[in-house]
């Protein structure tokens, strides 16, 4: 029993690491632009299908093809912000949400038309590889890599945001766009580039999540909702909080799936979300 428990918690930690990666990039774009991008998860799907295409065409391993997918997604993120979101950023929040929902439909069904609706697996050399700790703890190597990747990226994000000039500009735009503009910061430029990076990170997340996970065009919504929950539970602009909340969602999901029968186990993270909203609406780790 305890073995199963430990195995489940570790599994949840690893899955949560993957969620954290997506949640952090969502948090980055939200905090700098003030826009919740409901198509965020669909860009992850896009990245995964690009990796699939590259693997079929040139037999590139998803880890390697990030070199190609990252710039592609960066450019599409920049284009998304510059051409679609920037013009409406000042109008009602409702309209912006609608617009990103429209982007969701375009991406989801565009992918559906090109690749078809059947779930597919992207073959990877790492897929079946296992790490064995002690005598009973089995870890799937790709998941360990994904977890390590998310930690590394979180660290990198922290260093950039807290200790570099670029980070200072980004934080300035987040805290007070007007004052930032008066200080000579090119606000639209900072926002556009940050959006590009945020979407670009999805290429890395996609590569890290791909091994062993079947992908399908309609999955994007789930990869928007769970990171969004992490974002809100973490307290919106507190990156440590977002990271921990994403891990927590991963762990509760794993525990729910193993210890609650059937699909109702998958409800546990959502129930947790509703509970957190009821009891700590300011975010899990924030003082009221």
């Amino acid at each position: 029993m305890t073995e199963l428990l430990i195995q489940t918690v570790v599994q949840g930690l690893l899955v949560g690491g993957g969620y954290a990666l997506v949640a952090l990039s969502l948090g980055l774009t939200y905090n700098v632009s003030g826009i919740i991008n409901f198509a965020h998860g669909d860009f992850l799907t896009l990245a995964m299908y690009l990796a699939l295409a590259l693997q079929t065409a040139w037999a590139l391993d998803p880890y390697v093809s990030t070199v190609i997918t990252f710039p592609l997604l960066f450019v599409s993120g920049v284009a998304l912000y510059w051409f679609l979101l920037r013009p409406v950023a000042r109008s009602q929040l409702l309209m912006v949400i609608q617009l990103t929902l429209g982007v969701t439909f375009v991406l989801q069904n565009g992918i559906l038309m090109v690749f078809g609706g059947q779930p597919v697996r992207v073959p990877s050399d790492w897929e079946a590889s296992l790490l064995i700790l002690g005598d009973s703890l089995f870890l799937r190597t790709p998941q360990v890599l994904a977890f390590a990747g998310s930690l590394l990226l979180a660290l990198l994000l922290w260093i950039v945001l807290d200790h570099t000039e670029t980070g200072r500009r980004i934080r300035a735009v987040h805290q007070n766009p007007r004052a930032a503009a008066l200080m000579g910061i090119d606000v639209p430029r900072v926002r556009t580039l940050t959006f590009g990076v945020g979407i670009g990170i999805q290429a890395i997340a996609g590569a890290l999540l791909i091994p062993g996970t079947p992908i399908e065009p309609g999955q994007g919504f789930r990869y928007t909702v769970i990171p969004l929950m992490a974002l809100v539970m973490g307290g919106l602009s507190d990156f440590r909080g977002i990271y921990l909340a994403a891990i927590l969602i991963g762990v509760t999901e794993a525990l729910g799936t193993v210890f609650v029968s059937g699909t109702s186990g998958m409800i546990v993270p959502y129930a947790l979300f509703v509970l957190v909203l009821l009891l700590r609406p300011q975010g899990l780790f924030r003082r009221a």
């Binding site: 679609l84 699909t263 609406p281």
Partner: protein, 325 residues
Amino acid sequence: MRPDFFQFLRSPLLWIPVAIAACLPWGLSAYHLAIGTLALLYVSLALAWNVVGGIAGQISLANSVFVGTGALLASALYIRLGIDMWFGMVIAAAVSAILGVFMSLLDARFRLGHLSFALVTLAFAEIGELVVAGTDFLGGASGLDLPKDHGRFWLFEFGGGPGYFWAALVLALICLVVNQAILSSRLGYYLRALRDNEDAAQAIGIELFRSKATGMAISAALSSVAGTLFARYSNFVDPTLLASPNLTIEIVLIATIGGLGTPLGPLIAALVLIPVGEILRGQFGGTLPGLHFFLYGVLIIVVVLTSPQGIVPRLLSLRRRFRRA
């Protein structure tokens, strides 16, 4: 209730189109009649959504939960317990309304404005899909088959194409009248005041939670009834279709393309977009699945960028300008 509501009820602009629509079953082929029925069901769904999304200005992403409740709960009660579907429809509508009020309650506690409401309702949409998939009583992931329709009206059977078309027409008409009634009543003014400036509205004594919860309950109940009718009409409840968040997004996009706030926008958008979508699906469904959704997506992006108030209000203002010139 303002007098213009009764003017609206007496207006020939309302009854002449309804009378023409009511004659359609004698002129249309079965295929086109089915498209018409679907369009009318979407009119109901878009108008039900408009109460919360348009008049109150809150992005609700949980309407699939209400439609799913109406479809699955009423069907399950009928199949498993033999409860008459008229009664089941009322039970499901009541359950949906209670769920809607609960969501408003969560939203009122967690005040982040539009974002929190979108999130809370979105979480419920996901929960709803999972609950349905995990509950055998509701048919699980495989859905529910309803027994054959023998045209027994007291058992919620409308006997074939024309019957369901008229039923859908009546429901769409009810939704339209409810929208208009809300707009010209106290509640409509409260909701619009809250939409335009929440703090100012509360400062002059409008109760935030009570107004929003009422709007949400009405929207949820209407969506649920449309779900019940949809289930009986198609004889089969497909949970991946009715309980999935995609349905909600479709409704939201249709209503927004048409123009929010007034009933005319969602009404016309559903009447135009659903038939176009269905015909596209009929033509390209085999080779390019999802083409009609793709086009909806492109259309909404164009509409938000060029005329954020929606196409129908835009056309109306163009016509006014044209007349003046």
